[in-house]
Structures are given as structure tokens and as C-alpha cells.
């Protein structure tokens, strides 16, 4: 269970950043007043364009960033005050966070298992299960740097699940993956959902959100502008598909002339 209440994240901009963003403001509001809940047994999708604040929101949930305002609780633990407990309940996956390429998937699984205080027997069982599930058993002792991109991603997912987390946070789950690996990942996320896990993903790919997510929150310019199940969003916006619905919302928020 994830509860985000009135989350606001403001970045202070350095002179270099100001020049990069071509702004004179010394602050950038990345997320503004976002509240949402993700429940066990559901996949919640954060949908929005690049720079909308999806990754920042997920990083705040994963305790990597501290909210400027608002609160986040994961399985009842506060992400700021009880960061360690939160990290023991979650797994956070993103393309930017990788496994040490000098070690094998098997070593990394054991290493992170150790950091999560998993006993050896459970660790061995889980390793067999996940490695088999993702088809990496034959490559488990190969150095991660020698694995293919898809295999690396699957190894990273397997290792991140070492502690059987209750909450799975996935930033752009299929980004950079070939269609087969992407399918393996989305299928597995559904499996996890069915086993009662709380899953929150961010994506800007409409078709992915449509197929994968039980509920969707649309984020534009750091604000949550719409939320609901796929059917409720379609009905709400009188749209044929999610992409259609998203653009209707987007036009309303940004104004007609801002598109294209």
C-alpha cells in the first residue's frame, strides 16, 4: 500500500541548471500537491510526458528523495522518518540503477539478500525460482557486464525481488527493452499483482499503460490532472482509447495551441 499525500518537490537550481533550462528562476517545482493511493493487488500507472514529475514522484516513494512538502507512507512506514523500513518493503527499478557489472547475477542476488537479512535457505530457493522464471539460470555465474541488455535487465529485476517486497516501483518498465523482454517484464508484473503486491509504474507509452495498469494517474507539469480506471477515464473524457483521453486532458490543461 502506497499513500502519497499532497506531495510537493521543489529543486533548487544551480546557475548551470538555470542555463540548461533557460530560466532565471532559482527553483523548479517538479511535483506539486500530488496525492494518490496504490493498493495491494493493483498496478497503478503514472502517465505523463517527459519531465512531468513521474520519476521524481517514484524516487520520493523509494526514499531516494525527500519531499519538500507532503507525506508518503509505504506499508504504514513514513519514507522520511522510517526510510530503512520502507526500503525493506520496496523494490525500485529503473534503467538508471544497475547491478555492479563486475559480479555475476548469482553473487549480486546473494549480496542484496544479505543486506536484506534473508536466511540462506530462503535465499537459495528464491534464487532458483526467479532465475528459472526469467531464464537466467544458465547465465547466473557470468559477469553481468558479459550479459545482453535484456538479460541484464532481467537479472536486475530478479535481484531487486530478492526480499520478496510488498511494493514494486518501476520507472519506465519496458524502456530500452526488446519486445520479447518487455513482454516477459509486463507479464511478470501482472503475476506479481495477482499475488497481491502493490505495483506502481511510470510510463509515457499509452499502449503499455492501457494494457498493464488497473488504475492510471495522469501527471502534467508536476500536477495530477486525472485519475481512474481505464474505463472510467475513457468515459470521463469521452475518448476511444487512452491516448485520445490523455490528449483531451492535456489540451484542457495546457490549452489547445500548446500541442503540435
Amino acid at each position: 500500500m502506497i499513500e502519497i499525500r499532497d506531495l510537493t518537490k521543489i529543486y533548487k537550481l544551480s546557475n548551470k541548471k538555470k542555463a540548461e533550462l533557460k530560466t532565471k528562476d532559482s527553483e523548479k517545482v517538479a511535483v506539486s500537491g500530488v496525492s494518490l493511493e496504490a493498493h495491494p493487488g493493483e498496478i497503478y500507472g503514472l502517465l505523463g510526458p517527459n519531465g512531468a514529475g513521474k520519476t521524481t514522484t517514484l524516487r520520493c516513494v523509494a526514499t531516494l528523495l525527500k519531499p519538500t512538502k507532503g507525506e508518503i507512507s509505504v506499508c504504514g512506514f513514513d519514507t522520511v522518518k522510517e526510510g530503512k523500513q520502507v526500503r525493506d518493503k520496496i523494490c525500485f527499478l529503473t534503467n538508471e540503477i544497475k547491478l555492479d557489472p563486475h559480479f555475476s547475477a548469482s553473487y549480486m542476488f546473494d549480496f542484496f539478500g544479505g543486506l536484506h537479512n534473508i536466511d540462506e535457505e530462503t535465499l537459495a530457493k528464491r534464487k532458483d525460482f526467479f532465475f528459472e522464471r526469467f531464464g537466467i539460470t544458465d547465465f547466473k555465474d557470468k559477469k553481468i557486464e558479459d550479459l545482453s541488455t535484456g538479460m541484464k535487465q532481467k537479472a536486475a529485476i530478479a535481484v531487486s525481488l530478492v526480499h520478496d517486497p510488498e511494493v514494486i516501483i518501476f520507472d519506465e518498465p519496458t524502456n530500452g527493452l526488446d519486445i520479447i523482454t518487455a513482454r516477459v517484464v509486463t507479464d511478470f508484473l501482472k503475476e506479481l499483482r495477482d499475488s497481491g503486491k502493490t505495483i506502481i509504474v511510470s510510463t509515457h507509452i499509452m499502449s503499455e499503460a492501457q494494457k498493464l495498469c488497473d488504475r492510471i494517474g495522469m501527471i502534467i507539469d508536476g500536477k495530477k490532472v486525472a485519475e481512474g480506471t481505464l474505463s472510467s477515464l475513457l468515459a470521463q473524457e469521452n475518448a476511444e482509447d487512452l491516448e485520445d483521453a490523455f490528449f483531451k486532458v492535456y489540451k484542457r490543461v495546457k490549452g489547445e495551441d500548446k500541442i503540435g
Binding site: Y11, K12, T56, R59, A62, T63, L64, L65, K66, K84, Q85, R87, D88, I90, C91, F92, E96, I97, K98, L99, D100, P101, H102, F103, Y107, F111, F112, G114, L115, H116, N117
Partner: protein, 406 residues
């Protein structure tokens, strides 16, 4: 601190399970030390031998007969090519012969005064003309310098004594008193000048370069590759990650520096033999070895934590290396500063200056004259500095701006 222990284990496995790293950190330094010191020793020895074995080309102008006899009697002819020339022959070729000395074709030119023998014999009282010998040599040419030294020692001195004997009869009259020199020195300080001059400097360089090699990659490299973030997601505190990283890096780099030191200790005599000197390691008593070890370990931790701090602040390995380079120069300078110290008493507070004070203590340990208060000040200075840097590093690990460019 269970998490820190696991990180230490993993980081050590990273080093000790990688054949390439084992070779570059622990085997190559030993090979390099032996190769470099052995080669330097051999080159110096062969250069010295070459100078000694070289047959000097000596031209002697207006040589008196009795001088020629001394040349024969001393066996000088066996080690040099001596050619005699008379005044007339010399006058016509004067510039040529002098140029030959300048250009290194002739090693030594010795010119007796025209009436050397007559003037010597005519001398009766103070104020009478004293005949002279003009010696031309070139101090920028090793062969010429050596020819001058040998000629002075082997020919001029015996010739002078022969003439003095002939004039005075009893040479002992000239020897008003005798000088009896006795060297009184501590056995532990004998032959330690070279070591106490070089070791602090070499140790500082070795410790820093060993630490630099692995720390930049282990911190900035991991940050760049995104593997550090995966550790930040583990249910452990940031300080545990910092401790785990610093301790493991210190262990690896200390071991690497230790290999450097041991190889140097064994390889240095190879160089000193070539130079005709010796290295005295008798300062290594249990207490001095322990003090040296304490300083080395703490200095290593200082370097590792300092490089870690710079590496975590940097956004990638390249920037980290750029940040570390000026620090390396400052550290080396601090080591160099102690190379030329006069041995005068140093104020205790100066020992507390990291690197400089530590190099001073190492220097004193090498010469067997360590000041306890200086050693303690040095340790205290290091501990305080390390604590401050570890504090800053932990703060950097907790900073969203530094870790996630947020």
C-alpha cells in the same frame, strides 16, 4: 554495521577475484620496483665502471725528467695514454689542445713552467720564484674530472713529496701535528640519510597513488554506472555504505602500498649497491615498525576518504580524476618539503599537519629518533582530519543534489 561488513566483503571480492586488478595492484608494483631500482643501480654502476676503466688521454707539456720517472714509477702510464710535448710544439697547437679538452678529446692537459726545473733548483729564500704547473681539465666531462682526480692523487702528490724530500731531507719536519679522526655515530643512524630523505616522500606517493587507483572507480565510477544507487535502496543507512566503502578501499590500497614498500625495501639495496652506498634498515624495531604502521594505515584512510569525498562530489570518473590531481600535487609537495629539512627541532603542532607532519614522523622513525609527542600529534591530526572528511562524505551520500543531481 552488518550491512557495512557485507559491503566490505563484496568490495574486497571485487578486487581479489579480478585477476587484472590483482596483477595491477599487487604484482606489477613489485615487478616495477625491482625493475626500476635494479636498472638504476645497474646503470649507475656501469657508468661508474666505465669512468674508472676509461684510459685517460693526458698531454704533458715541458715535463721535467724526474717527473717522467715518477710517471713510470707510479705505474700511471698503465691507466692513461700519456703524450709528452715540448714548449715549441705546445705553443703552435695551444688553442687546438685546449679545444680538445673542452670538446672531450683530451681529458687532461698539464703544462709545466718553461724553466720549472731550474726555478725549483734556484729557490733559496722566501720571495724567490716558485715554479708552477698549469692543469687544464673539463669538470663537465666525467672522464676529464676523473683524469684530474687520479692525476692529482697518483702523480702530483708523489712528485711533490719527492721534490720536498729532495729539498728538505726530512719530510716529518713539515708535519707539525697529526690528526686522528674517529667517527662516532649511532649504529642505527648510519647510512640512514638516504632512506630518511626518500622514504617519507616515496611512501606518500605510493599510498596516494594506490588509493587513487581504486577509489575513483569504486565511488565515482559506481555513481556513473548507476550501481551505487542500487546500494542506496538497500535497507541500510548511508553511513554504513560509507564505512563499508572506506574500510574495504583502505584495506586494498594499504595492501597495495605494502607490496610497494616491501618491494622497495628489497629493491633499494640493488640501487644503492650500484651507487656504492648502503641502506640501513636497522631502525626497524618492533616499536618503530608499529608506529610506522599506525601512520601508514591512518594516512591511507585519510587519502581514501579524501579521494572518496572528491569522487562522490564529482559527477563521473573523469571529473573525479580532474579534482583529485591537484590534491595529489599538494600531497606530493608536502612529502617533498620534508626531504630537505635540516634536522632542527620542529614545533609539536607542525606534526599535526596532515601529510607534512606524518612525513616528518616517518623521517624520524627512519633515522631512529622519533619524538613521541610529535608522533602523538601526528596521529591526532590524522584522526581529526579523517573524522571531518568521513562526516562530509556521509553528508555527500545523503545529499540529493550530489547523488541524483536533484
Amino acid at each position: 554495521m552488518k550491512g557495512a561488513r557485507r559491503i566490505i566483503k563484496k568490495e574486497l571480492a571485487r578486487v581479489f577475484k579480478d585477476k587484472k586488478l590483482i596483477f595491477t595492484m599487487f604484482i606489477m608494483p613489485a615487478i616495477l620496483m625491482f625493475a626500476i631500482y635494479g636498472l638504476i643501480g645497474k646503470l649507475i654502476a656501469s657508468a661508474n665502471n666505465d669512468i674508472i676503466e676509461h684510459k685517460s688521454a693526458v698531454t704533458i707539456v715541458n715535463a721535467p725528467e724526474d717527473f717522467k720517472q715518477v710517471i713510470e714509477a707510479t705505474g700511471y702510464r698503465l691507466m692513461s695514454d700519456v703524450s709528452y710535448s715540448d714548449e715549441a710544439g705546445y705553443e703552435s697547437r695551444k688553442t687546438d689542445i685546449e679545444n680538445e679538452v673542452i670538446n672531450g678529446q683530451t681529458d687532461l692537459l698539464v703544462c709545466f713552467d718553461k724553466n720549472f726545473e731550474a726555478d725549483y733548483k734556484a729557490y733559496e729564500k722566501r720571495g724567490d720564484k716558485i715554479p708552477g704547473i698549469n692543469i687544464f681539465y673539463n669538470s663537465t666531462e666525467n672522464y676529464s674530472q676523473q683524469a684530474y682526480n687520479v692525476f692529482n692523487r697518483s702523480v702530483i702528490t708523489p712528485y711533490r713529496e719527492t721534490l720536498q724530500q729532495a729539498r728538505l731531507g726530512d719530510l716529518e719536519k713539515l708535519e707539525v701535528f697529526g690528526i686522528n679522526e674517529q667517527l662516532l655515530e649511532k649504529e642505527s643512524k648510519k647510512d640512514t640519510q638516504f632512506l630518511s630523505m626518500m622514504l617519507p616522500y616515496l611512501l606518500v606517493i605510493m599510498l596516494f597513488s594506490s588509493a587513487m587507483g581504486i577509489t575513483v572507480d569504486a565511488i565515482a565510477g559506481e555513481k556513473e554506472r548507476g550501481t551505487l544507487s542500487s546500494m542506496l535502496l538497500a535497507p541500510i543507512s548511508r553511513s554504513e555504505i560509507v564505512v563499508g566503502k572506506l574500510v574495504s578501499l583502505s584495506i586494498s590500497s594499504t595492501l597495495s602500498a605494502f607490496v610497494y614498500c616491501v618491494s622497495m625495501i628489497f629493491a633499494m639495496p640493488m640501487m644503492m649497491q650500484g651507487m656504492g652506498g648502503e641502506v640501513n634498515f636497522s631502525f626497524i624495531s618492533v616499536s618503530s615498525a608499529l608506529m610506522l604502521l599506525a601512520i601508514i594505515l591512518l594516512m591511507n584512510l585519510l587519502f581514501v576518504s579524501l579521494i572518496s569525498l572528491l569522487s562522490i562530489v564529482a559527477k563521473d570518473s573523469k571529473t573525479a580524476s580532474t579534482l583529485v590531481s591537484p590534491v595529489y600535487i599538494v600531497v606530493v609537495m608536502a612529502g617533498v618539503m620534508t626531504m630537505f629539512s635540516s634536522g632542527a627541532e620542529v614545533a609539536t603542532w607542525k606534526y599535526a599537519i596532515p601529510v607534512y607532519g606524518n612525513a616528518l614522523v616517518i623521517q624520524q622513525i627512519c633515522s631512529g629518533e622519533v619524538v613521541m609527542s610529535g608522533f602523538l600529534a601526528s596521529v591526532a591530526g590524522l584522526v581529526v582530519m579523517i573524522a571531518v572528511i568521513i562526516g562530509l562524505t556521509t553528508k555527500a551520500f545523503n545529499s540529493e543534489k550530489i547523488m541524483f543531481n536533484a
